[in-house]
């Protein structure tokens, strides 16, 4: 080891990759992977629980099922996973190790968000897509234009949901010990109870934009599967990109200002 050089280092892309790899073990725990598999299985079981009469009786039961997956199950799984990525490091004090490195705070934030997305994104896509396949095959048929729109919309909505919720929940987890509780209150009370049916208020609900992304893929027939769109798909994607940037910036600010134990 040489004598002190007095040089200031700036990690480049390697710092971002290292932050991602540092955060990944907190995401890919045995419990979470089992939870992800269980969620996918739950979607299958839920769908098979629908009776043939329900499936043949029209749109209502199946659309409720799709809505449940995109509006509730995906966000809930995202919260349960993402809140812990930096939250656990803050709670057990291991944040001190990456914190005391010259890596920019945005790299630490983005690396940990990326680690969370490693699990939340595929789970969101698989469950939303799986639900769409189940609904489409039993109603309009997956070969039809409406069925293809349904599937594409659901996959896009899954991606949108994971991207929109994950960075914000990572920031929330880094800042508050009860981040999961706050996020669940937001999902169940604000999004599902207050914002869903209120014009105006629904503009400040992530779910509005996720549904609008889904709706953007609809044609005349598949618009029957509409989940309650409010804004144009372009606006919805712009808002979601904005949420990703805002979530990353917020996480970086929380990390920067954290009292590291």
């Amino acid at each position: 080891m040489s004598a002190p050089a007095g040089t200031i280092r700036r990690p480049g892309f390697a710092g971002l990759v290292a932050a991602y790899r540092f955060g990944l073990p907190a995401v890919l725990t045995k419990g979470r992977v089992i939870g992800a598999v269980a969620l996918v299985l739950l979607v299958v079981v839920q769908f098979t629980a629908l009776s043939p009469e329900d499936l043949n009786s029209g749109i209502t039961p199946t659309i409720l099922f799709l809505k449940l997956v995109i509006s509730v199950l995906v966000p809930v799984f995202t919260v349960a996973t993402a809140s812990n990525v930096l939250g656990a490091a803050v709670a057990d004090g291991t944040l001190v190790y990456p914190w005391l490195r010259p890596a920019p705070r945005w790299q630490l934030a983005l690396g940990h968000i990326g680690a969370a997305l490693t699990l939340t994104l595929p789970v969101a896509v698989v469950t939303s897509g799986g639900a769409a396949v189940a609904v489409g095959s039993s109603t309009v048929g997956l070969d039809s234009p409406a069925g293809r729109s349904l599937l594409a919309g659901a996959l896009a909505a899954g991606v949108a949901a994971a991207l929109a919720y994950t960075p914000l929940v990572v920031a929330l987890g880094a800042r508050f010990k009860r981040a999961s509780t706050f996020a669940f209150v937001y999902i169940f009370l604000w999004e599902q109870l207050f914002a869903r049916n209120s014009t105006g208020i629904n503009r400040i609900a992530i779910q509005t934009y996720v549904r609008s992304v889904y709706y953007g893929f609809g044609d005349e027939e598949s618009s029957n599967f509409e989940l309650g769109s409010v804004v144009s798909p372009t606006t919805a994607w712009l808002v979601i990109v904005g949420l990703v940037l805002a979530g990353t910036a917020l996480t970086a600010l929380v990390v920067k200002g954290a009292n590291v134990e």
Binding site: A14, A18, R21, G93, T94, V96, P102, V260
Partner: protein
Amino acid sequence: MSVIELRGLSKWFGDVVAINEVSLDIDSGVTALLGPNGAGKSTLLRVLCGLTRPSQGTVRVLGENPRSKPSLGGRLALVPQQEALPERLTGRRFVSLMAAMSGIPQAEKAAVAAIERVELDPTDKRPLKTYSKGMRQRIKVAQALVGEPEVIVLDEPLEGLDPRQRVLMIDLFRSLGAEGRTVLVSSHVLEEVERFGSRVVVLAQARLAAEGDFREIRELMDDRPHSISVTTDDPRGLANALVSADAVSNISFPKPGTVLCQTENVGRFRTEVITQARDIGARLTEIRPTDDDLESVFRYLVERR
């Protein structure tokens, strides 16, 4: 300009004062931060590394505020006291990720060198959760060394190490100091600090109690009035003899058969008490210092400052 400069530094948590008006300059070489548990050492080190803001006062490390510039671009490293580590990573992965986050081009190579320097095996594939306490301490030191920082802050790094590992670590700290780095090591064990052979800063009751060369601090500690309890079958006779011999500054009888003596010269007192007891035919059962614990020493240093 000193490497580390603290000016009027205070930190409080609600009503609890953790550090009270500490001003200090630390230069290159090994400096020991000595103090009892709860004296505020860890808080001081955390403020010094920028992990938390001071409530009052300023901190400068290498001329910069460590809070606004974490790790000062890799020039400052910390070995924290806490045990927590990223348990699922291997030691090598942990250190190499820290190297990559420090902007070291050959992170793997640097990690191997740092791990070998603390006498751990870089090929060990076990996750950190399987490491013993001593191994965990050493991997914490390795992650601090990997960036080759100019300033290394170590919070109780010898805790949990066996005697051989302690010797290894103390030698390592000395060699880091000899390389021109600034090494600040905290400890609550006087004997450990003695072996650093370094400059000592004593923190007690949240305040700076003393600072200087270890020998000066040791003399300061030894020169204070000592309280010694002597158990004998003739307490009155022995007390008279000790007063006549001018070996004590104060004397009392806290319980039957016991003389409590105060002296500023422990060595002379020990000689006199044996001589006087023999001369008057008193039988000595026990000679016991009542305030030789480190807490008392620190309390004395705080009170005299």
